[in-house]
Amino acid sequence: MDEGRAPRRRVSPRLWLAGGWLLLALLAAIFAPLVAPQDPLAQDLMLERLPPFWMSGAEPGYWLGTDSLGRDLLSRLIFGGRIAFVVAFAASIAACLVGSTLGLISGYFGGWADRVISRVVDVWMAFPPVLFAILLVAVLGTGLSSVIIAIAVIDWTRFCRVIRAETMGQSRMDYVENARIAGYGRIGIMLREVLPNVVPSIVALLSLEMGIAVIVEAILSFVNLSISTDDPTWGGIIAEGRLSIHQAWWVLVFPLITLILTVLSFSQFGEALKTRFDPVLR
């Protein structure tokens, strides 16, 4: 009648770039045995510290060079991606489920539920997260599942806080009151009316959290607390690269670049997804 529909905005380049990198890294990790040019564990002292392909002395088939034991860096990064992604997905989904549920309850019902949950979150967040993680893994023992549990146990509070605040804001809106007048039950309103409005934030946080999980996993590997040392991990490679920085800088620099690109992509991807999920911003 008096206004048309807003034209749908085109997919932003940052969604493409971030999503493209993540997809590439994810596919490489999934199909690692097929795409990795070498065996990531094969040592060959004849091939130690080969430089990346554009430098003199490079060997074909070892695109990013080798480490001090002659293992192919690119293959190790690709296989390291497997652990990084498993941890990223499992830990952030666990943290998201726990944190968002509690945040939703806390923000929507208020009262004593809110007081208890908020108190727990405050106490929880008083611990420095990395120290907390190291402590937890030390207690739980090293291994993939302890790393995942540790990250989820630490980071659910991030979801809880943000979702609580968003839920509180939404619960004050008139449409919630309207639904109550119409006769909807409290839980029904929370799930059907409020939840869809906080989903964009949950999605953005989830993606951000995946990036954070990748970093925490790398830090734990770096201090040798993560997975068994045989399997390549990004943090483990960085730790080794640090020792040979003067002889073979690439062993440090490439995993760092991979890590940073992945973490940035996760956060950018989350932001871009949020705007796509939000009917008002879209």
């Binding site: 008139d174 309207n178 109550r180 119409a182 909807y184 409005n197 939000d278």
Partner: protein
């Protein structure tokens, strides 16, 4: 005519003991429009919320009762009360933007209530909603039903809310300043629509407003509220012909007239305010005695 809504002696207090409603009594007969006027903060919205069962948790009803078609709401179990209110009443809110869920399409919001709460079939609900959209003169229902709230103008959103309010044939509608958030030309159309649907459907309306001009146009009866107390109640025509309470007269003098827009408006007189303050002090004292 029987009372559709009957509020008697309703008092509500804040946690600090201050009364926000002071023994309010008012009734709305079936099919009639009762205006509730008063300045900002008088407690008009509070009365509406009390009727609809959505008072803020900090506000407590301490005496009086609210009857909806003879049923005493205070005596019902919470579940039964919700069901009764859901089936017999509806709200036309002040702000048509926040009253619609931003992340759900108009169509699903409108039919959802009929289907989930009242158990209609999807088809019947859809037919009904389209009929109502036609009654509020929305000419392109397909587009509107598919839209999200932010894709519609304020006037369109308010039409949607009016249609939604009448859709389930409630006996009583609380309209809380339904035109305040709209610009003047749209206000007139919306008022006309509300009156028209009210007549066709025979719905009783408790119409909250601070605008006496609106009162004169749409209501048969008026209650004038000041500081949570009904200071005057009358047939609309009688009130405008001969206002009894000094506050009502002052309020009339403070309302601009279209016929004479440049006449100076008088703010409510000091003496009138002093009189009201005394009146309320007396009422509070009388109330405090039995309530400690």
């Amino acid at each position: 005519m029987s009372a559709c809504l009957d509020i008697s002696g309703l008092s509500a207090v804040l946690p600090n003991g201050q009364r926000v409603l002071r023994s309010v009594s008012l009734s709305v007969q079936s099919g009639e429009v009762r205006a509730l006027v008063g300045e900002s903060g008088a407690g008009k919205t509070m009365i509406g919320k009390a009727v609809l069962g959505v008072l803020p948790s900090s506000v407590r009803i301490v005496e009086g009762d609210i009857r909806l078609e003879g049923e005493d709401l205070g005596r019902l179990q919470p579940k039964a009360r919700r069901t009764l209110i859901g089936a017999r009443t509806a709200l036309i809110p002040q702000d048509p933007l926040t009253a619609l869920n931003p992340s759900r399409r108009i169509g699903s919001q409108m039919t959802d209530r009929l289907v989930r709460i009242l158990g209609w079939s999807g088809e019947r609900a859809d037919t009904r909603i389209r009929q109502l959209l036609d009654e509020v003169q929305i000419r392109d229902p397909d587009r509107v039903l598919k839209s999200y709230p932010h894709e519609l103008s304020g006037g369109m959103r308010q039409r949607v809310l009016i249609a939604a309010a009448f859709a389930a044939e409630p006996r009583l509608i609380v309209a809380d300043e339904p035109t305040t958030a709209l610009d003047v030309t749209v206000q007139k159309q919306i008022l006309r629509l509300i009156v028209q649907l009210q007549r066709e459907h025979g719905t009783a309306i408790l119409f909250v407003t601070h605008d006496l001009g609106v009162v004169a146009k749409i209501s048969q009866k008026v209650s004038v509220l000041y500081a949570g107390k009904v200071v005057e109640e009358a047939e609309t025509a009688a009130l405008f012909a001969a206002p009894q309470h000094p506050y009502t007269r002052a309020l009339m003098a403070a309302t601009p007239r279209y016929t004479d827009p440049f006449a100076s408006l008088k703010p409510v007189d000091e003496a009138v305010l002093a009189g009201l303050a005394a009146e309320i002090a007396v009422a509070d004292q009388a109330w405090r005695r039995p309530h400690g």
